[in-house]
Symmetry: C2
Subunit: 338 residues, 2 copies
DNA sequence: TTGTATGCGTTATCAT
DNA sequence: ATGATAACGCATACAA
């Protein structure tokens, strides 16, 4: 069994015939220490390649300066990108982040939160897993007064701080855009019906239809579970009705990609036969043919705000849930131009 | 300042009038404990919502059962995907992983390794940052006998275990495929010249040319720094020579995406004017028009092997570097069919 | 079966 | 300016 023994301040102390407290002080650059001893300690620490044990530091300090970030999957560009902005904001505030993926599984979400709690993260930034229908594990965090911020995938059944975009308005904008471009039979390929984000967008979709005097029809609404296979099935079903849609709003670029793929397989032209608009505005949107019109979310700002809300809770005595709603931008490309 | 006081085994012990060691034993399900006391302890722990402090456990046990994974960026699908397979393999072996991104920066790579060392990770799985030209920080790990596995982005200047694919052969296959499809003026849009992976692929590219009796010309080789902006410039330069290429091999799908974009802007048809093959076989390849021919790497197997090599070092006394070379698969799509 | 004592690496309090 | 000692939360060798 292979195990190295790292050098500790004790080792340094013994070698130099000083006490551990002196070494500790020197290493942390405390003022009341003799330059000579300090230099000797620093030099030896360097030579011995001393690595401070963060575990011990955290244990005695009773804080980790670490925040836990839990997302469905880092394979989704949106979440990988959010992680980056969260990391940057956290780092600036002197915090480091610990990341976990749930892979859309409720059980993994449960386990990851547990692990992070055990690892003494000081707060959480979470985007809910698709399969999380029960929120007791999250609400327990709130009861325990553990700082928490939800983003993107939230639910009204959890009363916490949130960072979201105005999903209803965004979907309204996107749908109105399709209508303006001449679409009359509008469909929405939404996400799972228990995700608030999906419902909000569906509301915006419906409002836009109503505002334009168009009929909202159930047959033009379907729910994807985010997987490619399922999305393709949903898309094909949707196009198989007697009077198929001439415009589709999808809940994410990934859903849109699969949908476009399915439409092309059916020999349909985009945007001539079916115009499309989606959410997220991933880089890939630009590369597709036709390029994909998509709602852009202010990822950098969302990360900054999420960290800000979390820090606020970390530094406050009482936790007052606060919701930050950010604006989106409709980036118009070929898929909706006709 | 907001700070909760988590319940400890001490709290449980006091409440139940037993010693901490009894609680400790009960909680971990040790055999020599009376059913009654055990039940009482478990029940109370549940009621008080006791969370074991992992920091303390790790400190006393002198192990963390954690491996550090450092990648250039999780926004690259390849790395996000590798992370998943590494996590799965690690979990099966009872290890958890701690992830960090370098954002291609040498300084961040340095800092992240430092942080992870301080956090007592037991070993590293690393894919080098683009900007890492000096490898002293990595070689120091080896000298300190800290288990290490490199994957994908490696260098011969680091003598460690590695998990790679046969890059030379893969590039050869890809290039030979282009030649077979009738391309005669072949170009390679490679990565930074100091990355071994790029050189290996360039070697394979050249070998394929030579094998086919074609000329290897410097003007047909250029190096991208992986960014979209730079890639587009490189691609345009490459097509501006007097006798532009009719086939391009790119080092990654992302580079290919940008290149295709640039080619289309110039009014070139793919594959008729220029055929294309790239590396990684990301899902997006399927969605493009034309769909993109790409070299598929066995990501799942790579993750499994990386963890296996690391565990081997963790459990062995001497560290014998071992290199696992895996095979790739050329997935032929429209971009090279003519 | 349970308790006592010691230690993990570090910081902090109180002396000197 | 420096040292001895306690403490952080937990595990464990040794006693009882």
């Amino acid at each position: 069994m292979h195990r190295r023994t790292p050098v500790t301040i004790k080792d340094i102390a013994q070698t130099l015939n000083v006490s551990v407290s002196t070494v500790s002080r020197a290493l942390r650059g405390m003022p009341e220490i003799h330059p000579d001893t300090k230099n000797a300690i620093l030099k030896l620490a360097e030579e011995m390649d001393y690595q401070p044990n963060q575990l011990a530091k955290n244990l005695v300090g009773n804080r980790t300066k670490t925040i836990g970030v839990i997302v469905p999957s880092l394979s989704y560009y949106f979440f990988a990108s959010m992680l980056n902005s969260i990391e940057e904001a956290a780092m600036q505030a002197g915090y480091s982040v610990m990341v976990c993926q749930t892979n859309e599984s409720y059980l993994r979400e449960l386990a990851q939160i547990q692990n992070m709690l055990n690892s003494q993260v000081e707060g959480f930034i979470i985007s809910l897993a698709r399969d999380s229908l029960d929120y007791e594990h999250i609400n327990r965090l709130i009861r325990k007064q553990i700082p928490l911020v939800l983003f993107d995938r939230y639910t009204d059944k959890i009363e916490s701080s949130k960072v979201i975009v105005d999903n209803k308005q965004a979907a309204f904008k996107a749908t109105a855009h399709l209508i303006e471009k001449g679409c009359r039979r509008l469909a929405c390929l939404a996400g799972p019906p228990h995700l608030e984000i999906s419902n909000q967008r569906l509301d915006g979709f419906r409002d836009a239809l109503v505002s334009a005097g168009l009929q909202y029809e159930e047959q033009y609404v379907s729910h994807s579970d985010f997987t490619q296979e399922n999305t393709i099935i949903q898309a094909n079903n949707m196009m198989s009705v007697s009077n198929p849609p001439d415009g589709i709003l999808t809940m994410s670029d990934n859903i849109a990609f699969s949908t476009m793929y399915a439409l092309k397989q059916r020999g349909l032209r985009i945007p001539e036969d079916v115009a499309m608009v989606s959410f997220n505005n991933e880089p890939t949107c630009v590369y597709l043919t036709p390029s994909l019109t998509s709602i852009s979310q202010p990822i950098r700002e969302m990360g900054t705000q999420a960290v800000r809300l979390l820090l606020k809770q970390l530094e406050a005595d009482i936790i007052e849930p606060e919701t930050v709603v950010l604006d989106t931008q409709l980036v118009i490309r070929e898929s909706s131009l006709r």
